[in-house]
């Protein structure tokens, strides 16, 4: 590592901590960011967390480039081209990420107003990161951004500090982690299973399923494009997914729904079941800012129309969404549907649990928490619960719960952890320490190999 030659003297001495801590859950799709302080008694809540798109987007329509938080001011999401510096949950392209972070930290509209030298940073990463990427992240945080103190951790592990979603357990104290927790992080790039013991990940049992929100969106895009080409409309398809997709309660319910949405054979045409089949009105960004769905109109044949709405007299694009509503999220539970040789989510969780000592298995089975954007799909938790119950012995207790806000739960956990000064001192590495000990030492500290 090259020793920096001319960096501004840190405003903090070795033993000092800045008064506030920025918790940055740096996801591949969105950044979840906000402050927490160990000095005041304000309990952090979901409102303290800002969701920032982690992308640079270029619109071909108004010829503008939107960086990170600027995307919320975008009026026309049609045919936006994205550049995402985070691949598979790891920051790969620092040129892009630097631009997004700088825009997010600025005090302009939508920014966080962050002065790195006077802020502690808690940054999340995905488990099993390549060492080079970790090293480069540390380097950028200290050398380029110049944060006062810094802690890099596996995002899922912060969930142990968030309030427990299980009703029977007493409210956890803000500064203490939950004892045992199995975090199912259904994110954008993939779904990871992380068992946590007192907030520390059990590395040998971390497993990954390579199906995430991105695969689902792309699959839905392919399915809808059979009738209407939406390959360039990432944003709209992602909204369709959020609005109408659901997870079937069981494989038999899946088969039943598939029957109900079938148009029938050539000589025995069937009525489509309008409780499942819906028409989705696409946004045109003139009058309709966001798409919406309504029950299927039998007059629409062939999946798509451009038609005139009777009431308003406006033209609207309508796409019929049938079995895509449940066959697409089904990929999380049956990846073999697209020929992927991985078991479904339930199988991956069992693989993780079976790699643990037997004494621990029950505890983790009874404390499964779902976080991440795909966890918002209706029926996700119920299906996972049912499949797990069917796959383990009857006398084992299975409890699965969705976090109150699956997107912000890791952030909230981090914010609650950072309220306790002892927690912070135990984990943070200050800039002075970085300059004294170098990157190898810092990396070992974050891996828990060097104690304070």
């Amino acid at each position: 590592m090259a020793k920096p030659k001319n960096v501004p003297a840190s405003t903090l001495s070795t033993g000092d901590l800045a008064s506030r801590t920025l918790i940055l859950d740096n996801g591949a799709h969105t950044i979840k960011a906000g402050y927490s302080s160990h000095l005041d008694n304000h309990a952090p809540n979901h409102q303290d967390c800002t969701i920032i798109p982690n992308c640079i987007a270029r619109s071909t329509r108004d010829k503008r480039t939107y960086i990170g938080p600027e995307l919320t001011t975008c009026l026309d999401y049609g045919e936006l081209a994205y550049r995402r510096p985070v691949e598979k949950g790891y920051v790969v392209n620092w040129e892009g990420e630097k631009a997004i972070w700088e825009r997010s930290f600025s005090s302009e509209e939508g920014g966080l107003g962050c002065e790195p030298a006077e802020t502690n940073l808690i940054l999340t990463e995905q488990p099993n990161a390549p060492v080079t990427l970790q090293r480069w992240t540390d380097e950028m945080v200290f050398e380029e951004f110049g944060f006062g103190a810094y802690y890099r951790t596996i995002g899922a592990s912060l969930n142990a500090w968030a309030p427990s979603p299980f009703p029977s357990t007493a409210d956890s104290v803000s500064g203490l982690p939950v004892e045992c927790l199995l975090v199912v992080d259904a994110g954008y790039s993939h779904t990871t299973i992380t068992p946590l013991y007192h907030g520390r990940p059990l590395h040998s049992a971390i497993r990954r399923l390579d199906v995430g929100g991105k695969v689902l969106t792309n699959r839905l895009k392919d399915c809808i494009s059979r009738t209407f080409d939406v390959h360039r409309e990432d944003h709209i398809v992602s909204e369709i997914k959020e609005d109408v997709c659901y997870v079937s309660p069981s494989p038999s319910a899946f088969a039943a729904d598939l029957e109900r949405t079938w148009k029938g054979g050539r000589y025995d045409a069937r009525e489509l079941d309008t409780t499942v089949v819906v028409d989705y009105v696409l946004p045109d960004y003139e009058h309709i800012k966001r798409g919406y769905h309504r029950p299927h109109d039998a007059k629409i044949k062939g999946g798509r129309v451009l038609r005139v709405d009777e009431e308003t007299g406006r033209r609207e694009h309508v796409v019929t969404v049938g079995n895509e509503r449940f066959t697409v999220p089904e990929l999380l539970f049956t990846p073999s549907d697209i020929g992927m040789s991985q078991p479904g989510l339930c199988g991956v969780i069992l693989q993780s649990i079976h790699s643990l000592p037997e004494g621990l298995r029950q505890v983790f089975l009874a404390n499964i928490i779902v976080v991440g954007g795909s966890g918002l799909l209706p029926g996700f938790v119920e299906r996972l619960d049912a499949e797990l119950r069917g796959a383990v012995d009857e006398d084992l207790v299975v409890r699965v719960a969705r976090a109150e806000d699956p997107l912000k739960n890791s952030w909230l956990g981090g914010a609650r952890m950072a309220q306790d000064e002892g927690n912070l001192r135990q984990r943070l590495v200050t800039r002075a320490e970085w300059m004294e000990h170098g990157e190898g030492w810092v990396r070992r500290r974050f891996a828990g190999k060097i104690g304070r």
Binding site: R207, L360, A366
Partner: protein, 279 residues
Amino acid sequence: MPHIEELPLTAGKAAAPGWSYVPDTGYDPSKAPLNPTTARSKRKYAALVGGDRGDLSLRQQGQAQKLIAELDDDRSRRKIEVPTRKSAAEEKRGARHQTSNVARILKSEKTFVHYLDDEEALLDKQPARPSYNDETPKPAPRASKTPLARRKSTALNIESSASSSPAPAALPQTPMGPPPLPHHLPQPTSKPQSSTSTAQDPSPYALPSDAELEALLSAPPLSYSAAQSAPPPRTDPPPRRFCDVCGYWGRIKCLSCGGRYCGLGCKEAHLQDKCLRWK
């Protein structure tokens, strides 16, 4: 019934003289006919590949791989220039210029696949990360780092506790106890039993001792590819097939290309747009 297991004959990767059991992974390219054209050689080929289970042929596997790679790509590599704009923070820092490392990182055009390859190459050269392994021994050595090789052990593990069928005899690596009895664990979030009480009670659900837990907690992280879930057990039902055109069950297989469709209506659409026979 005697228990038969395969014992590793060789310590390292070097092949020892003599013979050894090798795991039957199904498809052996050396036995496959070069050009399966006749019906008989096609059948033989299918049997080798495992076609009886409705497994995919090599070509279909290739197609599936391509599809998965496409689905996993967020088309984000379309080159979008980052507009250069001096932010206020940058101006404040003024003359401070970047260290050479930072400049190198910022200029890097590598994608995740490159880093993954680097990592794999590094792991091949030095199988264990020395910096992590110095102080703490690994808790339980894993049979193999590749997901495919893990299939067998995990499959057996899941089956033995998951299904109602009689559990197989004890496995060498993880001895399974007798069928579990109804029990009451301590409240999931309460303090785990202390190690003294677990020492007296050697039930299969005894919580691991503090030393075991510590070893488990300080185990080094797996590499990216090792953390991928193992393939599903062979006993799983064969993959479901869907109509290429409408997404209903793919009940009919196209004779020309092997694609699926659901009925006459979709057959026409398939032949017109989807059939890969001449492409």
